[in-house]
Symmetry: D2
Subunit: 421 residues, 4 copies
């Protein structure tokens, strides 16, 4: 069915471009959390098109409205219904318009028709970017829990547009993973900084200007261009991710490749890491630095692991399970399929022809994809986190074991065995 994501914190979305509304139901949000529309709207607004001259000029007003699941600004633990009205609700009558005759190249018009045998007036049905509204709304709720309960921070930014890179691959650093500058950036970057580099959302002045210029060029040529978004998740507890099929990177890859227009995903050193010797790629363990007392009491339920890694080619995940280091990954977005040029293609009825262009379009989606990547990251992490919290609690209620593990401090349900015994 594919409209549901998550097992423990689960979002189910509905809605096409031209129906009455789009929205979602969020199940599994913990009870007793403060939550109002004001927690959700900011990411909705960051997602909106029409925020600058290089993104599409349409101005959708996406006001989210909570239907259920909260009272007096507190979550009840019951499903949270959310709804955003569509402004253009009326499906178009089928006429002689070009779009009724041609499936748009590299859009979903053709495959939706093949799949369902019914042609929605919007062409690609649920493949529209408008479908991501429900994801972003649900992701904002997930983020709030992650921040309140664990201090988890999720920040995404644009890392390339076309062949303009924030950290171009070099023979020394075929992947940014080995570049200390990159590692420093992902430790420190925040959303305010990212947004300050409007309109591209690439947090480096020089790279941002290069990218902006490239996008402008493609816009002027009535063409489009792709790019990449990199995302970091900080303060993520260790132990997240379910072997074997639901490794944390597998869940992240699933989440990211479900975003419209994505073509590629890499975690940690990624494809570049395939070129590095194991002796360099391996991340040696070191004793983790002490957490300052001012922070140590804050998130007692998720003590930081006693070991960390010296390097982080693993991207915070080893054997499919988070190790407490920053998790980072990069997602590739193709050039938008809608372009301002006529295209030679075929009609639904197999006749050659030319699909004329009309209107203005977004020449590059990556700036707008930033909050969507963050939302899907939040939905993935909260699902793994709730699963692991459940396991640790279940374990902690068992009588303690003695003597089976050689290490002094082995974690037992959140406590060390020593503390417990």
């Amino acid at each position: 069915m594919g409209s549901t994501f998550g097992q423990h914190f689960r979002v189910t979305t509905y809605g096409e471009s031209h129906c009455l509304s789009v929205g979602c139901i969020v199940e599994g949000c913990p009870p007793g959390m403060e939550l109002t529309e004001a927690d959700i709207q900011p990411q909705m607004t960051r997602r909106r098109p029409g925020q600058s001259s290089i993104t599409t000029p349409r101005n959708e007003k996406d006001r989210v409205e909570i239907q259920s699941g909260t009272e007096f600004g507190i979550t009840l633990g019951t499903p949270i219904g959310m709804r955003v009205m569509n402004e253009n609700q009326r499906p178009k009558d089928y006429g002689n318009s070009t779009m009724d005759l041609y499936p748009r190249p590299s859009h979903a018009d053709w495959t939706y028709l093949e799949k369902y045998g019914v042609k929605a007036s919007s062409g690609g049905g649920r493949s529209s970017a408008r479908e991501t509204i429900g994801r972003v709304a649900a992701g904002a709720i997930a983020e709030k829990y992650l921040r309140l309960a664990h201090g988890i921070e999720i920040v995404a930014f644009v890392s390339s547009v076309g062949n303009e890179y924030l950290f171009p691959p070099t023979p020394t650093h075929p992947t940014p993973a080995t570049n200390p500058e990159f590692l420093k950036m992902i430790e420190e970057i925040n959303r305010e900084t990212v947004d300050s580099f409007a309109p591209v959302r690439c947090p480096n002045k020089e790279a941002s200007e290069r990218m902006e210029k490239l996008v402008a060029d493609f816009r002027d040529r009535q063409d489009s261009i792709g790019g990449t978004v990199t995302c970091v998740i900080r303060n993520c507890p260790s132990g997240l991710g379910e072997p074997c099929f639901d490794k944390l990177e597998a869940m992240l890859a699933h989440a990211m490749l479900s975003i419209p227009a994505t073509k590629a995903f890499e975690i940690g050193s990624g494809f570049g890491g395939c070129q590095i010797p194991g002796s360099i790629h391996n991340d040696p363990f070191i004793k983790a630095p002490a957490v300052p007392p001012s922070q140590s009491g804050l998130y007692a339920a998720a003590p930081r692991p006693r070991l960390t890694t010296k390097t982080n080619n693993s991207g915070g995940i080893q054997g499919g399970i988070s190790n407490g280091a920053p998790i980072y990954f990069t997602v590739g977005f193709k050039p938008p399929a809608t372009i301002g040029q006529a295209q030679h293609t075929a009609t639904y009825d197999e006749e050659d022809g030319v699909l004329e262009a009309k209107g203005r379009h977004d020449p590059c989606v990556v700036p707008r994809a930033v909050p969507i990547v963050e939302a899907m990251a939040a939905l993935t992490i909260i699902d793994s986190l709730l699963a692991q919290q459940a396991r640790q609690t279940a374990r902690s209620l068992l009588p303690p074991l003695k003597g089976v593990v050689p290490a002094k401090h082995t974690v037992v349900g959140g406590e060390t065995a020593a503390e417990k015994a």
Copy 2:
């Protein structure tokens, strides 16, 4: 939990390296299919280590044994239990061995302990390559159905080792997707050809030799190196993949990133495609060539779509749904974490020290990963296929509609509306 993959054709695996056996239960295999161990063993054997001087010399004898779900060589439609004995069944006593003191860098020893609070004698528990046995066994059953019912062919091969590529990226072709030679290869390649390029499984003499030499170098230096595996799925029906969260590429990414040691995934043009203008990246539609009569009757249930695309930067998937063109993708594998060198790292008890090397190890896993990638591809495709077959059947039982779609031949439950009306 993470030991289950698939909704409609579902495999659940069990087993660590040092327990009695490893195995799986396959639910949802259609009844009435001929099936014996002889259908499964070949891929099990292709997966085995120890097949050449550049892969690990241990010789596991992995004989699969069907426990249930078939009678007289025919599937009953009930769960198929499968089991492979472990030869080294006895868990090691905890002693003073190095491995008991040190979590191995970039292995899963540390994260498994963080997750479960129990240290398996094998260290990383279910993260071992031995866990993939259940996947390959289940994948072989899936493949047989796909081949018998739809003529679907799945072939994987090694496309790079370190920085030695089968199709190196160039300014003209930042992705092989735009390279006619690559497109020709994925139309024609088969497993026999791939295996004829032992030991590397890269189907090009010159590239294969470069790769073999590189692996030998790393072996001699007691080091390891990563690489990529590319996989093609041919004759896949259109309409597979569930919007929005379970797009076909999202499910493939999930499947591939669940294989041990993977770091990256790209579909179609992938990361390279982010650098190509939309006007070139878009795949125009053309009338599909007629299928020769000798083949047309064979798989009546899955008629080929009437349109196909002139190029295939989409990798056979548009809007998350297959379009009938070859599906291809590439998976990145990191250098193996086990190397023949001493490593400076920390003990479980946070003390600095040196983890000594011992034994001989596999310097590069990509040749052995080939059948595992094929297995996971088969498990992903059969799940999407059964979902789509179910939808088409459900639709076909409804009274026909008239006049809602402008196209003449719109598919309605496997038939065109015209044929039905």
Copy 3:
């Protein structure tokens, strides 16, 4: 989480009594089916309270509004969002009202607080009868498919109120299952007839009058009384139900016991059948009567089985799988917990006291439960049906087998082996 029902046709509901709206998302509805609000509203209206002097006088106006998933009155195959506004949207401020001090006996006030640690202003949160709106809306869609594609008919009626029975147990017939009159009734009963016996919905004049009088007595005494609803599903194809854990009766029991106020479920001969010797209880097979030609072509995809049973103590299900005979079951509803009498009980703070009664209440819920039982039956059957249709299609695409089954006409993917071979 518990707000989702079904694997193949799946409804997710949201909403409390005092939030903005209640509603649901339906996934998996086949594309290409005619559907508007007019298909859904009749069951919504039958579910409404306030339809007679023996049900609660509140008049909720439950207008359902489709949000998505249809265009021009045709289902698209995408999720169908539905919403019904709450009239009393504002949560009550916490004050000194009785309900804020006392958890109502045998209501969900106390257990919801124990579960979530948050007290919804409506007390029992999602346990309200208002939650059933989403079920009835989704059930109406399921019913339409079942009727159009298979001619399936689902009819429920009141079979007892207190100790007044439609078919009282007797030594000869400890269960109605052995009573020819009962078997005749379930073959013929329809909703129009049931509703003609307003307000009780028990389709027998004399029994209906006895029941109506009993309810009136309890109403006059400010008390309440329980009862049973019996439901029949006719024209259900054989082969539905998934061994072993998801037997068709197990799914029906799950569905029925999820309806508020239910305490018991029996299929076929039920508890009474435990008293009958096996030699009488067993249902012998007989050749199925020929279906009249006027009907035979109508639902070609679901041919009637060639055998049927002479008796039907099995209630249409054997070994967890439907056999084509009418499926019937009975559901027990407790007396409503809200009564017009003061009750001696304890406050949230463990102090003894008296909870005063206020307002008028429904003395018996069974008449109103009739469309809810039908809705849950429809949701259960469509889910099993889509699963079985999927299996049959998957099987039918395999090459035919020969000679493994002794019977001449063994069903193979919807055809007999003979026809296929």
Copy 4:
């Protein structure tokens, strides 16, 4: 698919009567629990047929063998594979035997053939009682956790055979729920006492003798008879059960009706409760008695609720959620379909005929069903318990709320708000 039960503690079973083995995989068992075959075998043995002259004389030797998921007698948190060999492994060749010609009345032979289109040599495939082995093995693991972590006790016993009852319905007590003797029995009954009333397992000397005589009568007449099993779950924490579709009674009903030969389920007052006025049926709240200090510290994670109910017509569940009182329910089993008499019926090929009897058979299954009911109860409770523990942990990590709930002691994530604030 139906071979999987549970979301958080999940068992997947495999195996027919005549295949190599039967078994299961258990996912989600908490790590760090002591577990060996010795914990599992006792219930396996209680389930075995052939334990007395009134049960079937075949003596299956069901030795369970753990394949994975434990080391040195400790659970690793990874999947636990379990296997029991079949003694009669060879599928029968199809010949002229009666069973090949006739589908046995009220067995699953016919419906399995309708479902799968393949006839297993055992006739009803997975519908055999042998399938319950995997359930009982998994249930024994679940029980151990429930006992160790929460002191939960689950005891089932035979409550009727035919029309011989342990607590016959009377006008005063149409349900045992209102009978103080019954309530006392379910507070105290244990398995040793139940088994001391061999062979019937009805814990009352006089009733047990009546039942034993009845079964003997039916055995002598080559006939069979049904009965009921009642089960109690004590010390179950409050808050278990997921609204709305997965109410605790709905999950129990699902679990119980999935056991072969079951026809009916009732929770608490059940069908009899439908005859009782609401003013009597409602369970008033009272302050819960203090737990003796000797017990209070034992299961700190699951504090007993501060309120309990004076009566227990609810059967420990209100609004679908456990309230801490004993949960009890009754399951109805039909008379076994296999009888020692010839039966007039039809062949697979629709011809009238007589199916001759052969061999000796079990005239009544309820004594043997006792451990199976206990196993399914354990699997249901552990699943709900792990879900609720997860919720409470998630909630407890949020900042405390103030002032929203009027009660002084409202539970917040396991602590009272007062303690937390």
